[in-house]
Symmetry: D2
Subunit: 134 residues, 4 copies
């Protein structure tokens, strides 16, 4: 499997301990996800076609397996772990060469604005579209 | 319980969907944790006293319960959920007034550089120091 | 003059040199500007009332006078230096106590989408509104 | 001239106006500069060899010529505009294809900690080293 994203880690991604400031890892997961949506037109197409405010997060978690440093080329891999009626679970891996840097997951929903607030809409049509495109 | 941190959410914290870009929530959790260390001298004191490269992350996870928007005053609450020999589990809650915005956890270790790489050191002395200070 | 914003600088704002990563200073200038717009309803009100895509940047510059570190309380001061027909020049100062940390300027325009692209619109009505509100 | 850095702009780099949040442009300039230092070993080598706390900023400025959006491939070009005894002026250009997105400058010094505070040290030896390497 090819990485969906390769990050050339720089000085500004790192903190005073000299390693990547960990919220940046979630930033790169989101960037990977946005690239995953490009074959169907990106999040804007999703918003327009499905009347959604976005494919937002219900849950995110990461295990950090080894430190990432300036100059590392970080490969981010994305796979769909599970579709359910109203959410999709994505699985990520970050590697520097063969070395595992992080393993993580996101649960995302197709959030829709309704009269009673923001709710998670049916995600089936989006699934079909993504599966067709890939 | 008083919040350890209150964030005045602004334009630049939000994404094109008009809500907080989720990695910023982890950024604020880290800021809350760094404030938690201040009574014992902050992370620099931890590094010097314990010969550590930092109180780094082994694991982080968050459940997002409601959207956070520009202009929201986000209160971040921190509590220690569990100490074990080589890690501490922190529990966070983010609230906008009474409304729950997120619930999250971090597992942090006292990482130490050894000849065989970076390992999680004994965290007991740090625990004593933090409990004395609070 | 009171600061429009006070930043409690934390670990994650700093880089491996142990001082604030400089793009964050522009982030805080933007946050200060967004607070400056709040009395008239924030940037969303500006977008709706003036049909603008936002009060965007034409020019930004900063002189860095002394280093900012973790634990510093950074006061950000904002003043309007000059209104012209299609832009406003803002002046910022950042201070840690009495110590000057940075001096900076932004030139902002009311960007409007037209058939021939994005142009800077007349800013006079916005000026009146802001001057009334303050 | 080849770009020193190409940024694949994503959702999370953009703000609620749907365009790049401008402090990110300074973040990318810094990333470009850090890559410029790599042939001589990066900022860590500079710190070790010259006893410096880093090649920090004295001044930064940018003119924003056109908006950058999600999906844009932003090429960042770097050139040295001028060396003086205690500073170097860098010139940047950002382009999306042929379209000019920004023009900017940084003045950087080799900051050194002395008994009387942080001062800008002689930058001549660094200049020689960089010119040899390129």
């Amino acid at each position: 499997m090819a990485p969906i994203l390769t990050v050339d880690v720089t000085f500004g991604d790192c903190d005073p301990a000299g390693i990547v400031f960990y919220p940046n890892i979630f930033r790169w997961m989101d960037a990977a996800f946005q690239k995953f949506l490009r074959p169907i037109g990106g999040h804007r197409a999703v918003e327009e076609e499905f009347g959604s405010i976005g494919l937002g997060l219900a849950d995110a978690q990461a295990q950090f397996r080894s430190t990432i440093r300036e100059g590392d080329l970080l490969d981010v891999f994305l796979s769909v772990e599970k579709w359910s009626g109203r959410s999709v679970t994505l699985r990520y891996e970050g590697r520097v060469g063969e070395r595992l840097a992080f393993e993580s997951r996101e649960v995302r929903c197709l959030f829709i604005r309704t009269e009673s607030g923001i709710v998670a809409g049916d995600i089936g049509a989006l699934r079909s579209k993504l599966e067709e495109a890939s």
